[in-house]
Symmetry: C2
Amino acid sequence: MREAGVDARKRRILQAIIEDYVLTALPVGSRTISRKYETSLSSATIRNEMSDLEEMGYLAQPHVSAGRVPSHKAYRLYVDGLLQEAVQPDEEARQYFAEQIRPMEDVAAAAAQAIARLTRYTAVVMMPKQLELRVSCLQLVPMPRGAALLVIVTDTGAIRDTVIRVSDRLDSDALFSISRLLTERLAGRTLKEVQEMLGAYARMNGPDARVLEGIASLARQMEKQSAQDTVIIGGSHNILNYPEYSDVEKARAFLSALEEKERLTSLLSRHDAPFMVHIGPESAIPDMQDCAIVTAGYQVGKGHRGAVGVIGPARMPYAKVLSTLGAVSRVLTDLLGE
Amino acid sequence: MREAGVDARKRRILQAIIEDYVLTALPVGSRTISRKYETSLSSATIRNEMSDLEEMGYLAQPHVSAGRVPSHKAYRLYVDGLLQEAVQPDEEARQYFAEQIRPMEDVAAAAAQAIARLTRYTAVVMMPKQLELRVSCLQLVPMPRGAALLVIVTDTGAIRDTVIRVSDRLDSDALFSISRLLTERLAGRTLKEVQEMLGAYARMNGPDARVLEGIASLARQMEKQSAQDTVIIGGSHNILNYPEYSDVEKARAFLSALEEKERLTSLLSRHDAPFMVHIGPESAIPDMQDCAIVTAGYQVGKGHRGAVGVIGPARMPYAKVLSTLGAVSRVLTDLLGE
DNA sequence: TGTTAGCACTCTCGTTCGTTGAGTGCTAAC
DNA sequence: GTTAGCACTCAACGAACGAGAGTGCTAACA
């Protein structure tokens, strides 16, 4: 029993099977391959090869008189081949973003929408955590009826705001003075330090306790949000477009799994290559055992890596998806990288 | 042929059928009613009554040997009965909101989430348009690298911001002076007026044209957004919980219909009663012919009415849903009404 | 006159049982 | 090593059929 590896011809046949299956979602028979892809070989020859490929674990048969379906292992081989080549970024995708300055959250949400539209899959965008976020500016904007909008801007350009109550004796000049004072004292400090310092001030400073409390609370919230990778999801119900999920129960399980973002976050946080592809059980997410998760990394700030990706059935046009993601990740790196 | 109206007994039977059907989603037979609801009557009697009710258009039979299913007309009668009584706001729902001051958009989004969770239906929240929005304050907050955050606050407390580029010679004091100047000139003006005035300034004022342009653009965007009713949707895929949508095609059609918000907006904009219920074709939304849309109005500011609601199969526990919506609308009126 | 028991009738649903057709594996010839 | 031929397997489809749920109708009863 010689049992050689996957020679060039087997590889071609396997690729043909995958490509046909990606299009049709139907088991592929030997005749189909012999007529549409390898016209110089007879169906019997293809059958022999397919039999070998099945033994090696690249193909599976739903039942004995059906054609073959690629296994996760087959997709893995196929995708590894694709990743060797340079991924060509998709030009259409590049042009999807208006060239406007927007805060990071908006950009990420826009990217998720764009990816979902372009690929017709569920899109995920991971924004990396930013530890040691430092306050760059802090300002109170007057609002009607004894309220004020508190805005905190960090050195990375992240913005967060909240409405707080203030004494209605404070006019806009007074609010500005407070803002200036606070910015002087707090600029350059990390969010953690800000919280500590405010604790100290609060004891001395009676009347404006509400303001200080508001800042502390916003700083706390901001730190909490930025201290962990966050995931944005777009086009979640694109999954219904695929026959793999024509069973409502499966679709529901998938959508529920999407809502528990921790699993996705931890998967995307380990993103250390330009592209990553998790096929089937590799993602270790139950209810997504028949899915592939394809992601591309992007750069935000110095050394922080985010990721954009799609989730869909393992039967996926990987080349197309990789090129779309490549384009989007490049745009994101341009917009957020500086 | 006497053919009287719906007497009290028919009404009771109809109600029993509806309530049983709401629970089980299965056609209801005469024996079920006679045993579970009207134990003093035999199934034969019930049968006669059901036959009458069918003739009057309140019941339908999927096929001759199945039980009866309530028609839209039946739900209508039932709901009209409910609306006569005072709707008791659901206490659980009241406690769902943290008592935090938040901008209107956040409150609306939170309400949508809450409603979706509480009812397990798709939730909609309509925020009414606000014409003649007047600027109350306008402020530039310094950001790193020659950018600034422009914040516009209106008299109603709406907040919108955008990042703009500014000359990096402008420090925080300079930005504040500009802010004060702009606020002095623009406070009290409508968004439309602001746009016009800025057009005039822009011609005189060379270097800071970018700032003025940024304001004009934000004002334009803000006006556009606030000049139309906007709808927020929550829990869109709750629909998959219901056997009526166990067919993926139907579910997809429903979800697509949800994305076209114009129809929903125009439906919710005509909200002139505390509660409204659109059953089946009454909503005039194709792909929601078998749905009911239940809404409760809430008050925002002086005279502006918003609405919160749910969308789900016509087979719906209307009393429960109305009471939940009643509670949420009351909370919203408290938070936004002032 | 309203209510009820009895009964024949109808129609869905689930099961069984061939039939069909796609696709395979194996063998023998090229 | 390749290919034609052929027997074989099994899902999918449809027809036939019995079971069961629920009805409408009739006739008896209060």
